[in-house]
Protein backbone atom coordinates (compact mmCIF):
# COMPACT_ATOMS: atom_id res chain seq x y z
CA UNK A 1 0.00 0.00 0.00
CA UNK A 2 1.11 3.54 -0.70
CA UNK A 3 1.82 6.12 1.95
CA UNK A 4 -1.47 7.96 1.37
CA UNK A 5 -3.84 5.04 2.09
CA UNK A 6 -1.67 4.13 5.07
CA UNK A 7 -1.93 7.69 6.36
CA UNK A 8 -5.71 7.57 5.91
CA UNK A 9 -5.82 4.32 7.89
CA UNK A 10 -3.69 5.90 10.59
CA UNK A 11 -6.03 8.87 10.73
CA UNK A 12 -9.10 6.63 10.98
CA UNK A 13 -7.44 4.55 13.70
CA UNK A 14 -6.60 7.65 15.71
CA UNK A 15 -10.13 8.99 15.26
CA UNK A 16 -11.65 5.67 16.36
CA UNK A 17 -9.43 5.59 19.46
CA UNK A 18 -10.32 9.20 20.27
CA UNK A 19 -14.03 8.56 19.86
CA UNK A 20 -14.02 5.32 21.88
CA UNK A 21 -11.97 6.93 24.65
CA UNK A 22 -14.91 9.24 25.29
CA UNK A 23 -17.43 6.40 25.30
CA UNK A 24 -18.49 5.25 28.78
CA UNK A 25 -18.09 1.51 28.03
CA UNK A 26 -14.49 2.10 27.00
CA UNK A 27 -13.30 5.04 29.10
CA UNK A 28 -12.52 3.07 32.29
CA UNK A 29 -9.94 0.95 30.48
CA UNK A 30 -8.04 3.82 28.92
CA UNK A 31 -5.63 4.76 31.76
CA UNK A 32 -4.42 1.18 32.26
CA UNK A 33 -4.10 0.50 28.56
CA UNK A 34 -2.19 3.74 27.97
CA UNK A 35 0.27 2.74 30.70
CA UNK A 36 0.60 -0.65 29.06
CA UNK A 37 1.15 0.93 25.65
CA UNK A 38 3.96 3.03 27.15
CA UNK A 39 5.70 -0.15 28.32
CA UNK A 40 5.17 -1.71 24.86
CA UNK A 41 6.75 1.34 23.22
CA UNK A 42 9.71 1.37 25.60
CA UNK A 43 10.46 -2.28 24.88
CA UNK A 44 10.02 -1.71 21.14
CA UNK A 45 12.41 1.24 21.04
CA UNK A 46 15.07 -0.38 23.23
CA UNK A 47 14.68 -3.65 21.33
CA UNK A 48 15.00 -1.87 18.00
CA UNK A 49 18.24 -0.19 19.06
CA UNK A 50 19.67 -3.51 20.22
CA UNK A 51 18.42 -5.25 17.06
CA UNK A 52 20.10 -2.76 14.73
CA UNK A 53 23.36 -2.89 16.69
CA UNK A 54 23.33 -6.70 16.79
CA UNK A 55 22.38 -6.96 13.11
CA UNK A 56 25.14 -4.62 11.93
CA UNK A 57 27.72 -6.36 14.11
CA UNK A 58 26.72 -9.89 13.12
CA UNK A 59 25.99 -9.06 9.47
CA UNK A 60 29.32 -7.32 8.93
CA UNK A 61 31.22 -9.89 11.01
CA UNK A 62 29.79 -12.65 8.84
CA UNK A 63 31.12 -10.85 5.77
CA UNK A 64 34.41 -9.38 6.85
CA UNK A 65 35.59 -10.76 10.19
CA UNK A 66 38.27 -13.45 10.60
CA UNK A 67 37.06 -17.04 10.82
CA UNK A 68 36.31 -17.51 14.55
CA UNK A 69 34.28 -14.30 14.75
CA UNK A 70 32.53 -15.21 11.53
CA UNK A 71 31.48 -18.57 12.97
CA UNK A 72 30.27 -16.85 16.10
CA UNK A 73 28.09 -14.57 13.97
CA UNK A 74 26.72 -17.52 11.98
CA UNK A 75 25.94 -19.40 15.19
CA UNK A 76 24.13 -16.40 16.64
CA UNK A 77 22.05 -15.88 13.51
CA UNK A 78 21.11 -19.53 13.06
CA UNK A 79 20.39 -20.06 16.75
CA UNK A 80 18.05 -17.11 17.04
CA UNK A 81 16.37 -17.62 13.69
CA UNK A 82 16.06 -21.34 14.22
CA UNK A 83 14.29 -21.27 17.58
CA UNK A 84 11.18 -19.36 18.31
CA UNK A 85 11.02 -15.94 19.99
CA UNK A 86 8.89 -17.24 22.84
CA UNK A 87 11.30 -20.10 23.50
CA UNK A 88 14.15 -17.57 23.67
CA UNK A 89 12.19 -15.36 26.00
CA UNK A 90 11.32 -18.25 28.32
CA UNK A 91 14.83 -19.60 28.17
CA UNK A 92 16.30 -16.30 29.34
CA UNK A 93 13.54 -15.87 31.91
CA UNK A 94 13.29 -19.38 33.39
CA UNK A 95 16.56 -21.13 32.58
CA UNK A 96 19.17 -18.42 33.13
CA UNK A 97 18.25 -18.05 36.83
CA UNK A 98 19.01 -21.75 37.26
CA UNK A 99 22.55 -20.93 36.17
CA UNK A 100 22.60 -18.24 38.84
CA UNK A 101 22.07 -15.38 36.41
CA UNK A 102 19.04 -13.29 37.29
CA UNK A 103 18.04 -10.44 35.03
CA UNK A 104 14.95 -8.30 35.50
CA UNK A 105 12.02 -8.99 33.21
CA UNK A 106 12.35 -5.75 31.21
CA UNK A 107 15.98 -6.50 30.33
CA UNK A 108 15.09 -10.09 29.47
CA UNK A 109 12.37 -8.81 27.16
CA UNK A 110 14.66 -6.33 25.39
CA UNK A 111 17.48 -8.88 25.12
CA UNK A 112 15.33 -11.71 23.75
CA UNK A 113 13.31 -9.63 21.30
CA UNK A 114 16.23 -7.41 20.25
CA UNK A 115 18.54 -10.36 19.63
CA UNK A 116 15.78 -12.29 17.87
CA UNK A 117 15.00 -9.48 15.43
CA UNK A 118 18.72 -8.69 15.19
CA UNK A 119 19.38 -12.19 13.85
CA UNK A 120 16.93 -11.63 11.00
CA UNK A 121 18.37 -8.14 10.58
CA UNK A 122 21.87 -9.56 10.22
CA UNK A 123 20.72 -11.36 7.09
CA UNK A 124 19.15 -8.14 5.83
CA UNK A 125 22.42 -6.30 6.36
CA UNK A 126 24.39 -9.06 4.68
CA UNK A 127 22.05 -9.22 1.70
CA UNK A 128 22.05 -5.45 1.21
CA UNK A 129 25.84 -5.23 1.42
CA UNK A 130 26.25 -8.10 -1.05
CA UNK A 131 23.87 -6.34 -3.42
CA UNK A 132 26.26 -3.40 -3.76
CA UNK A 133 28.21 -4.10 -6.97
CA UNK A 134 31.76 -5.38 -6.60
CA UNK A 135 32.82 -2.49 -8.85
CA UNK A 136 32.29 -0.14 -5.96
CA UNK A 137 34.88 -2.01 -3.92
CA UNK A 138 37.36 -1.80 -6.74
CA UNK A 139 36.76 1.89 -7.26
CA UNK A 140 37.46 2.38 -3.56
CA UNK A 141 40.64 0.31 -3.76
CA UNK A 142 41.82 2.22 -6.82
CA UNK A 143 41.44 5.42 -4.79
CA UNK A 144 43.55 3.79 -2.11
CA UNK A 145 40.84 3.80 0.56
CA UNK A 146 41.32 1.22 3.30
CA UNK A 147 38.95 -1.76 3.69
CA UNK A 148 37.39 -0.16 6.72
CA UNK A 149 36.89 3.13 4.89
CA UNK A 150 35.39 1.35 1.89
CA UNK A 151 32.89 -0.51 4.08
CA UNK A 152 31.96 2.52 6.17
CA UNK A 153 31.98 5.26 3.55
CA UNK A 154 31.19 3.53 0.24
CA UNK A 155 29.40 0.23 0.77
CA UNK A 156 27.21 0.79 3.84
CA UNK A 157 25.72 4.13 2.74
CA UNK A 158 24.59 2.48 -0.49
CA UNK A 159 23.35 -0.65 1.27
CA UNK A 160 21.24 1.37 3.70
CA UNK A 161 18.70 2.27 1.01
CA UNK A 162 18.03 -1.40 0.29
CA UNK A 163 17.86 -2.14 4.02
CA UNK A 164 15.10 0.29 4.94
CA UNK A 165 12.04 -1.61 3.65
CA UNK A 166 12.98 -4.95 5.23
CA UNK A 167 13.85 -3.17 8.47
CA UNK A 168 10.40 -1.61 8.39
CA UNK A 169 8.94 -5.12 8.38
CA UNK A 170 11.30 -6.24 11.14
CA UNK A 171 10.33 -3.33 13.38
CA UNK A 172 6.67 -4.32 12.92
CA UNK A 173 7.57 -7.90 13.86
CA UNK A 174 9.38 -6.52 16.89
CA UNK A 175 6.39 -4.43 17.97
CA UNK A 176 4.08 -7.40 17.59
CA UNK A 177 6.62 -9.61 19.35
CA UNK A 178 6.51 -7.39 22.42
CA UNK A 179 3.09 -8.88 23.16
CA UNK A 180 4.95 -12.03 24.23
CA UNK A 181 6.44 -10.22 27.22
CA UNK A 182 3.00 -10.36 28.83
CA UNK A 183 3.76 -14.05 29.33
CA UNK A 184 6.77 -13.22 31.53
CA UNK A 185 4.67 -10.87 33.68
CA UNK A 186 5.70 -7.54 32.16
CA UNK A 187 2.78 -5.11 32.26
CA UNK A 188 2.68 -4.23 28.55
CA UNK A 189 -0.44 -3.51 26.53
CA UNK A 190 -1.30 -7.20 26.08
CA UNK A 191 -0.73 -7.95 29.77
CA UNK A 192 -3.02 -5.11 30.83
CA UNK A 193 -5.69 -6.31 28.43
CA UNK A 194 -5.51 -9.86 29.78
CA UNK A 195 -5.60 -8.64 33.36
CA UNK A 196 -8.60 -6.36 32.81
CA UNK A 197 -10.32 -9.07 30.82
CA UNK A 198 -10.03 -11.47 33.73
CA UNK A 199 -11.33 -9.00 36.31
CA UNK A 200 -14.11 -7.29 34.30
CA UNK A 201 -14.98 -9.77 31.55
CA UNK A 202 -15.52 -6.78 29.25
CA UNK A 203 -13.77 -8.69 26.47
CA UNK A 204 -15.17 -6.80 23.47
CA UNK A 205 -14.31 -3.22 24.45
CA UNK A 206 -10.91 -4.13 25.89
CA UNK A 207 -9.66 -6.03 22.87
CA UNK A 208 -11.09 -3.49 20.44
CA UNK A 209 -9.01 -0.79 22.12
CA UNK A 210 -5.94 -3.00 22.23
CA UNK A 211 -6.17 -3.89 18.53
CA UNK A 212 -6.58 -0.23 17.63
CA UNK A 213 -3.62 0.63 19.85
CA UNK A 214 -1.30 -1.85 18.15
CA UNK A 215 -2.61 -0.80 14.75
CA UNK A 216 -1.83 2.82 15.55
CA UNK A 217 1.75 2.01 16.56
CA UNK A 218 2.31 -0.32 13.56
CA UNK A 219 1.04 2.20 11.04
CA UNK A 220 3.19 4.92 12.58
CA UNK A 221 6.28 2.74 12.15
CA UNK A 222 5.34 1.73 8.60
CA UNK A 223 4.71 5.30 7.48
CA UNK A 224 7.86 6.55 9.21
CA UNK A 225 9.99 3.95 7.43
CA UNK A 226 8.37 4.73 4.06
CA UNK A 227 9.21 8.40 4.46
CA UNK A 228 12.74 7.52 5.49
CA UNK A 229 13.09 5.36 2.39
CA UNK A 230 11.96 8.23 0.17
CA UNK A 231 14.54 10.52 1.73
CA UNK A 232 17.29 7.96 1.32
CA UNK A 233 16.42 7.44 -2.34
CA UNK A 234 16.43 11.17 -2.90
CA UNK A 235 19.90 11.17 -1.32
CA UNK A 236 21.05 9.16 -4.32
CA UNK A 237 19.71 11.82 -6.64
CA UNK A 238 17.02 9.51 -7.96
CA UNK A 239 13.37 10.28 -8.03
CA UNK A 240 11.45 8.59 -5.27
Amino acid sequence: MGVTPLAIMLGLTAAALWWLAGHEDYRPFMPGLVEGAAVTMRITVAGAILAVAAALTAGLARLYAPAPLRWLAVTYVELFRGTSALVQLFWLFFVLPQFGVTIDAFTVAVLALGLNVGAYGAEVVRGAVLAVPLHQWEAGLALNLSRRQIVARIILPQAVVAMIPPWGNLFIELLKGTSLVSLITLADLTFRAQQMNQTTMQTGPIFTLVLLGYLFMSLTITIGMRLMERRAIRGLGRRA
Binding site: R81, G82, Q98, G204
Partner: protein
Amino acid sequence: MIWDWAFAIEILPRLGQAAIVTVQATVMGFALAATLGLGLTLARIAWPRTALPISVGVELVRSTPLLIQIFVLYFVGPEIGLVLDALTAGTLAIGVHYAAYCSEVYRAGFEAVPRSQWEAAEALNLNRGTALMRIILPQAIPPVIPALGNYLVALFKETPLLSAIAVLELMQTAKIIGSESFRYTEPITLVGLFFLGMSLISAALIRLVEARITQGVRR
Protein backbone atom coordinates in the same frame (compact mmCIF):
# COMPACT_ATOMS: atom_id res chain seq x y z
CA MET B 1 23.67 -30.12 38.67
CA ILE B 2 23.06 -27.83 35.72
CA TRP B 3 21.96 -30.39 33.16
CA ASP B 4 20.35 -33.66 34.29
CA TRP B 5 20.46 -36.27 31.54
CA ALA B 6 18.23 -38.71 33.41
CA PHE B 7 15.56 -36.03 33.84
CA ALA B 8 15.88 -34.97 30.22
CA ILE B 9 15.30 -38.55 29.05
CA GLU B 10 12.49 -39.03 31.51
CA ILE B 11 10.50 -36.08 30.12
CA LEU B 12 11.13 -36.89 26.46
CA PRO B 13 7.96 -39.02 25.96
CA ARG B 14 5.78 -36.25 27.35
CA LEU B 15 7.42 -33.69 25.10
CA GLY B 16 7.05 -36.10 22.20
CA GLN B 17 3.30 -36.26 22.79
CA ALA B 18 3.21 -32.47 22.87
CA ALA B 19 5.25 -32.24 19.68
CA ILE B 20 2.43 -34.05 17.91
CA VAL B 21 0.05 -31.26 18.91
CA THR B 22 2.57 -28.67 17.72
CA VAL B 23 2.93 -30.37 14.36
CA GLN B 24 -0.85 -30.76 14.11
CA ALA B 25 -1.37 -27.04 14.70
CA THR B 26 1.36 -26.23 12.20
CA VAL B 27 -0.06 -28.41 9.43
CA MET B 28 -3.67 -27.33 9.93
CA GLY B 29 -2.70 -23.69 10.37
CA PHE B 30 -0.60 -23.62 7.25
CA ALA B 31 -3.19 -25.48 5.18
CA LEU B 32 -5.63 -22.72 6.09
CA ALA B 33 -3.06 -19.97 5.48
CA ALA B 34 -2.07 -21.29 2.06
CA THR B 35 -5.61 -21.80 0.77
CA LEU B 36 -7.16 -18.68 2.29
CA GLY B 37 -4.18 -16.62 1.11
CA LEU B 38 -4.57 -17.92 -2.43
CA GLY B 39 -8.30 -17.34 -2.29
CA LEU B 40 -7.79 -13.71 -1.30
CA THR B 41 -5.30 -13.16 -4.10
CA LEU B 42 -7.52 -14.79 -6.72
CA ALA B 43 -10.47 -12.76 -5.47
CA ARG B 44 -8.65 -9.47 -5.91
CA ILE B 45 -7.63 -10.44 -9.44
CA ALA B 46 -11.04 -11.77 -10.45
CA TRP B 47 -12.99 -8.89 -8.85
CA PRO B 48 -10.78 -5.78 -8.81
CA ARG B 49 -13.35 -4.05 -6.63
CA THR B 50 -12.39 -6.34 -3.72
CA ALA B 51 -8.75 -5.28 -3.93
CA LEU B 52 -9.01 -2.33 -1.55
CA PRO B 53 -10.97 -4.05 1.23
CA ILE B 54 -8.66 -7.07 0.99
CA SER B 55 -5.59 -4.82 1.18
CA VAL B 56 -6.96 -3.08 4.25
CA GLY B 57 -7.84 -6.40 5.86
CA VAL B 58 -4.40 -7.82 5.17
CA GLU B 59 -2.79 -4.69 6.60
CA LEU B 60 -4.94 -4.88 9.74
CA VAL B 61 -4.06 -8.52 10.36
CA ARG B 62 -0.37 -7.98 9.74
CA SER B 63 -0.22 -4.89 11.92
CA THR B 64 -1.50 -6.46 15.11
CA PRO B 65 0.08 -9.19 17.26
CA LEU B 66 -0.87 -12.79 16.64
CA LEU B 67 -1.16 -13.29 20.39
CA ILE B 68 -3.91 -10.65 20.55
CA GLN B 69 -5.66 -12.26 17.60
CA ILE B 70 -5.56 -15.61 19.40
CA PHE B 71 -7.06 -13.99 22.51
CA VAL B 72 -9.76 -12.27 20.48
CA LEU B 73 -10.85 -15.46 18.77
CA TYR B 74 -10.77 -17.43 22.00
CA PHE B 75 -12.28 -14.88 24.40
CA VAL B 76 -14.42 -12.65 22.16
CA GLY B 77 -15.65 -15.53 20.01
CA PRO B 78 -18.00 -16.93 22.65
CA GLU B 79 -19.64 -13.50 23.08
CA ILE B 80 -20.84 -13.68 19.50
CA GLY B 81 -21.78 -17.34 19.76
CA LEU B 82 -18.53 -18.76 18.40
CA VAL B 83 -17.44 -21.27 21.03
CA LEU B 84 -14.22 -23.01 20.02
CA ASP B 85 -11.85 -25.23 21.94
CA ALA B 86 -8.43 -23.72 22.52
CA LEU B 87 -6.60 -25.72 19.87
CA THR B 88 -9.16 -24.91 17.16
CA ALA B 89 -9.33 -21.21 18.05
CA GLY B 90 -5.54 -20.95 18.17
CA THR B 91 -5.00 -22.81 14.92
CA LEU B 92 -7.65 -20.71 13.22
CA ALA B 93 -6.01 -17.49 14.41
CA ILE B 94 -2.58 -18.65 13.25
CA GLY B 95 -4.02 -19.67 9.89
CA VAL B 96 -5.74 -16.34 9.31
CA HIS B 97 -2.67 -14.38 10.45
CA TYR B 98 -0.40 -16.20 8.02
CA ALA B 99 -3.02 -16.11 5.25
CA ALA B 100 -2.42 -12.35 5.22
CA TYR B 101 1.31 -12.92 4.68
CA CYS B 102 0.75 -15.68 2.12
CA SER B 103 -1.64 -13.56 0.08
CA GLU B 104 1.14 -10.99 -0.35
CA VAL B 105 3.48 -13.75 -1.49
CA TYR B 106 0.98 -15.05 -4.04
CA ARG B 107 0.34 -11.50 -5.21
CA ALA B 108 4.05 -11.03 -5.94
CA GLY B 109 3.96 -14.31 -7.85
CA PHE B 110 1.04 -13.18 -10.00
CA GLU B 111 2.57 -9.77 -10.60
CA ALA B 112 5.76 -11.45 -11.82
CA VAL B 113 3.91 -13.17 -14.67
CA PRO B 114 4.38 -10.95 -17.72
CA ARG B 115 1.35 -9.01 -18.97
CA SER B 116 1.94 -10.56 -22.37
CA GLN B 117 0.80 -13.92 -21.00
CA TRP B 118 -2.64 -12.45 -20.36
CA GLU B 119 -2.64 -11.00 -23.84
CA ALA B 120 -1.57 -14.28 -25.40
CA ALA B 121 -4.41 -16.06 -23.57
CA GLU B 122 -6.84 -13.39 -24.72
CA ALA B 123 -5.62 -13.74 -28.29
CA LEU B 124 -6.49 -17.43 -28.07
CA ASN B 125 -9.96 -16.39 -27.02
CA LEU B 126 -9.72 -17.94 -23.57
CA ASN B 127 -12.02 -16.25 -21.10
CA ARG B 128 -10.58 -14.44 -18.08
CA GLY B 129 -11.32 -17.20 -15.61
CA THR B 130 -9.80 -19.91 -17.76
CA ALA B 131 -6.77 -17.74 -18.49
CA LEU B 132 -6.29 -17.13 -14.77
CA MET B 133 -6.62 -20.74 -13.71
CA ARG B 134 -4.98 -22.51 -16.66
CA ILE B 135 -2.33 -20.06 -17.90
CA ILE B 136 -1.41 -17.56 -15.20
CA LEU B 137 -1.78 -19.61 -12.01
CA PRO B 138 0.58 -22.44 -13.09
CA GLN B 139 3.26 -19.85 -13.83
CA ALA B 140 2.69 -17.77 -10.72
CA ILE B 141 2.87 -20.46 -8.05
CA PRO B 142 6.15 -22.37 -8.53
CA PRO B 143 8.46 -19.34 -8.13
CA VAL B 144 6.87 -18.42 -4.79
CA ILE B 145 7.02 -21.89 -3.22
CA PRO B 146 10.28 -21.14 -1.37
CA ALA B 147 8.79 -17.94 0.06
CA LEU B 148 5.75 -19.90 1.20
CA GLY B 149 8.10 -22.45 2.73
CA ASN B 150 9.74 -19.70 4.75
CA TYR B 151 6.35 -18.68 6.09
CA LEU B 152 5.60 -22.30 6.95
CA VAL B 153 8.72 -22.31 9.11
CA ALA B 154 7.81 -18.93 10.60
CA LEU B 155 4.31 -20.20 11.41
CA PHE B 156 5.75 -23.32 12.99
CA LYS B 157 7.93 -21.18 15.24
CA GLU B 158 4.93 -19.17 16.40
CA THR B 159 2.92 -22.19 17.58
CA PRO B 160 4.32 -21.80 21.12
CA LEU B 161 1.95 -18.82 21.40
CA LEU B 162 -0.82 -21.38 21.77
CA SER B 163 0.52 -21.99 25.27
CA ALA B 164 -1.02 -18.64 26.20
CA ILE B 165 -4.49 -20.19 25.90
CA ALA B 166 -3.32 -23.42 27.55
CA VAL B 167 -3.13 -25.64 24.47
CA LEU B 168 -0.97 -28.59 25.48
CA GLU B 169 1.62 -28.09 22.80
CA LEU B 170 5.39 -28.20 23.38
CA MET B 171 5.90 -24.91 25.19
CA GLN B 172 2.94 -25.35 27.52
CA THR B 173 4.04 -28.89 28.34
CA ALA B 174 7.56 -27.67 29.03
CA LYS B 175 6.23 -24.99 31.36
CA ILE B 176 4.05 -27.47 33.20
CA ILE B 177 6.98 -29.84 33.62
CA GLY B 178 9.00 -26.88 34.83
CA SER B 179 6.49 -25.81 37.43
CA GLU B 180 5.99 -29.38 38.66
CA SER B 181 9.67 -30.20 39.02
CA PHE B 182 11.20 -26.73 39.45
CA ARG B 183 13.57 -27.68 36.67
CA TYR B 184 13.15 -25.46 33.61
CA THR B 185 16.56 -25.99 32.03
CA GLU B 186 15.90 -29.38 30.44
CA PRO B 187 12.33 -28.93 29.16
CA ILE B 188 12.82 -25.45 27.69
CA THR B 189 16.22 -26.27 26.19
CA LEU B 190 14.82 -29.45 24.64
CA VAL B 191 11.95 -27.48 23.13
CA GLY B 192 14.48 -24.97 21.75
CA LEU B 193 16.56 -27.79 20.26
CA PHE B 194 13.45 -29.30 18.67
CA PHE B 195 12.62 -26.01 16.98
CA LEU B 196 16.24 -25.46 15.94
CA GLY B 197 16.48 -28.93 14.43
CA MET B 198 13.20 -28.65 12.55
CA SER B 199 14.08 -25.16 11.29
CA LEU B 200 17.50 -26.18 10.01
CA ILE B 201 16.04 -29.22 8.25
CA SER B 202 13.27 -27.12 6.71
CA ALA B 203 15.75 -24.47 5.58
CA ALA B 204 17.80 -27.15 3.83
CA LEU B 205 14.65 -28.57 2.20
CA ILE B 206 13.58 -25.13 1.00
CA ARG B 207 17.00 -24.55 -0.55
CA LEU B 208 16.65 -27.89 -2.33
CA VAL B 209 13.20 -27.03 -3.68
CA GLU B 210 14.46 -23.58 -4.68
CA ALA B 211 17.29 -25.11 -6.70
CA ARG B 212 14.83 -27.48 -8.37
CA ILE B 213 12.54 -24.65 -9.32
CA THR B 214 15.27 -22.39 -10.71
CA GLN B 215 16.47 -25.33 -12.74
CA GLY B 216 12.97 -25.90 -14.04
CA VAL B 217 12.68 -22.26 -15.08
CA ARG B 218 16.04 -22.25 -16.86
CA ARG B 219 15.16 -25.37 -18.79
